[in-house]
């Protein structure tokens, strides 16, 4: 108890987060619920930053507060805004509440068995994780331990995680797109300028986003490339790149974006990223090592073995970035246009 430097803020944030979460669930207006949920995610980022998990916070800001919220918006845009408060199913809700209460109590029964919050000698903090902290420089020359563990020590998880994003994209494509295949996509005419005046369209937003997008993209590239030394990496960069395109979609119009990024391009690039990652792994096998053992790529990548790992991590991150970027765009366009790929939010 003696040293509780900054953790009081955490408690405050935690209570706030809880309130936001409950509010999001209690709101009848779904749009409002989505916005509150976005705020909830954002607060969550703050908590994680205070706990020292900058990469997680970064991802949450991009994914949770960013694209997740936009996905919910896109869905609501296509359907309707209000949750009808009829037929409350009170008995069932109470029953579910009871189940949750019992589960919660069961979870808390282990409370006394837990290590104290922030204890550096707890099993979690003292079993394997010291290995990563002590050896990351020796093994890979990458100071950002998260990047090392992500792309190298537990690189297989990351490959699969990329695959998950890819699956989500093609799954959503198959769920939504298929019906629209019958109603033929009307290819946009050659339009050089943004579409004609639309009362919901705002000139200010359009111009502002036009200015912002290049900077976002440069930042995103930086995030990917500089992931070795600062928070960030393929995921975060990919999501930001995706978000920049999504911003274009929102402020302009889907057709405007689809002229550049056709359906085919998006879907192909989505799978290409996974392919890059998997191929790097396969290259290791061909070079005589285990799968994803970047060390053996030493002959074809500059530098010694540790640098080979570092460079391979970059390659891998690029793959992740491509897949994540185009998956996010693909998912968004499908959700927003209800699978028709013509117009939407």
């Amino acid at each position: 108890m003696a040293e509780l430097p900054i953790w009081q803020y955490d408690t405050l944030f935690l209570i706030l987060v809880l309130l936001f979460g409950i509010t999001a669930l209690a709101m009848q207006n779904l749009m409002a619920a989505a916005i509150v949920f976005g705020a909830y995610s954002f607060l969550m980022c703050l908590i994680w930053t205070t706990m020292g998990a900058v990469d997680v916070a970064f991802t949450e800001a991009a994914v949770g507060a960013g694209v997740s919220t936009v996905f919910i918006f896109a869905t609501i845009y296509n359907t309707g805004v209000c949750a009808k408060p009829k037929n409350p199913r009170l008995a069932f809700k109470l029953f579910a509440g009871l189940i949750c209460f019992v589960t919660g109590a069961f979870l808390l029964s282990a409370l006394s068995d837990f290590p104290n919050w922030g204890d550096p000698y707890s099993p979690v903090n003292s079993t394997i994780s010291p290995y990563y902290i002590e050896n990351t420089i020796r093994d890979t020359h990458v100071p950002n331990i998260v990047t090392t563990v992500l792309a190298d020590y537990r690189g297989f998880d990351t490959l699969l995680e990329t695959a998950v994003v890819f699956i989500a994209c093609i799954a959503i494509y198959s769920i939504l797109r298929v019906d629209a295949a019958k109603s033929k996509v009307v290819e946009p005419d050659i339009v050089t300028s943004p579409p004609a005046y639309d009362p919901t369209d705002s000139l200010i937003i359009r111009q502002a986003s036009r200015i912002m997008v290049p900077f976002m993209q440069i930042f995103a590239l930086y995030v990917i490339a500089h992931g070795h030394y600062s928070p960030g990496g393929g995921f975060q960069g990919g999501v930001i790149l995706g978000a920049s395109i999504i911003l274009l979609c929102i402020s302009f119009d889907l057709k405007y974006v689809l002229r550049q990024w056709t359906e085919k391009k998006i879907m192909i690039l989505t799978s290409l990223g996974v392919l890059i990652f998997a191929t790097v792994g396969l290259a290791c096998v061909i070079m005589g090592g285990e799968y994803l053992n970047y060390e053996v790529l030493d002959p074809i990548l500059p530098g010694d073995k540790a640098y080979a790992r570092s460079h391979a991590i970059l390659l891998v991150e690029i793959g992740v970035g491509i897949t994540v970027m185009f998956s996010m765009i693909g998912i968004y366009i499908n959700l927003a246009s209800n699978g028709r790929f013509d117009r939407g939010l």
Binding site: F106, S109, D113, L160, F166, A171, S174, A278, Y294
Partner: protein
Amino acid sequence: MIEHLPILIILGPLLGAVFASLTSWYRPKLSFPVVIFGLAISSLSAILIVFKLAFSELDVIHYQLGGWGTPEKDEYGIVGIQISVDYLNGLILATVSTIGLLTAVFSTRSVERELTGQQRYFFSLFSLLVSGLLGISITGDIFNLYVFMEIAALSSYALIAYGKGRSYMASFNYLMMGTMGACLYLLGVGFVFVKTGTLNIENLSQIIPQTLQNSQAVFVGFVLIMIGAWAKMAFFPLHGWLPNAYSYAPTASGALLAPLATKVSVYAMLRIMITVYSIDYVLKSPSIQSTVLLLSTISILVGSFFSITQSNLRKIACYFIISEIGYMVGGAWLANEPGLKGAIYHVVADAAMTSAFFMIIGCIVYRTGQTELKKLDGLFYKMPLTFVALIITMAALIGVPPTCGFFSKFYLIQGAVQAGTWHFVIALLISSLIKAIILFRIIEIGYNKVPNPAKEGNKTITREEAPLSMLIPTLIVTLSLILIGLFTDKLVTNFIAKALPEIPSL
């Protein structure tokens, strides 16, 4: 190349899927052979590795992803992610990959017909599902298992949603239940992780039984992981999603999901139960053990009784799955040698049985377009081979010797007798009898109601089997039911008995 076999098992279908999704934009016809190729590699590697295990002194084959650490060092296997094949999952891997391959071959025609114009990503998702299931079976890391679980789950949601109509809601419900299960599993992993600090299954199996027997957090983690696995496998009372999800899905998706998805979850449960924790640990909490046994009895009975009220063959098959899940969970939780043997054997046997059943349904749907029992009159005269396969499969489900269903039942009953769990014995027998009643019904409708060809203006009854690409896999799987039965002793002594941990004698 031989040392890379474990990773090839997963990479085959994974890369196959990625390539297939690429080719689908250029040469849509090429996706299918690409996927088949990937699955074939996987199946071949799995079979090879099973033989390697059987004919070598090794108990377990490790594969270190990223090549982290050498076997002498402490951090070996812990720092990176390890995948490993041992006697327990070798069989499961071979079963899953082979059934995946056969089902892929089987599905071509039915996909062409049912999903005309929409099959762009079907086989990619199909292949990804298989790789997810294989991953769950092969991984040696409990967090990696979660990721594979999600890969399998996400692709299965899409595969089910291909069914259109009511399948969307069914898939949504499955998504909610599946995500809940996966989240509870992850939370359970967290509770275990808090006390152990490691994620490697082998490492955990050294730590937990020795030093953390009485830790409440580890116990809570155990219960959470179990509930998570049960939600995924549709164990009573978390079974509500399964019948709709599997029966509204397209035939091809059903034929892949039904036999494999639930069985692999059973495997995950077994792995956590007998490797990470230990049988000791299970026996230590008799109240939970008896509750689970009671639940599995109820599960068997519920599945059986609902199956008899259904008039649709596919729904019947879905409720069968629920009762079979009861067999496996019950057998595992009997926590004695014959019970566990029965449970593991039944995972393999039931995968084959369910696969055969759903393939047969697929053949019937392809030719007649329906699965209502009443409308299948005279099926024997129209599709004799399919009908005979159906009879053999039903016989296996009932447990008629010498099919595999008989031997799993034999072990399970033996285990229940040893444990003195009579309600489980009775439930097993009742479910057999109920399946027998359904078999009579099928025979009476399909065989004894001789169709009258004159009514349709034909001279003779036209025999029209499903196309060969569907019929051959169906027959292979059906024959395997008998073969597995005949080679029970070989399977049990060479694999299953060795997969069992040491079981404390009471």
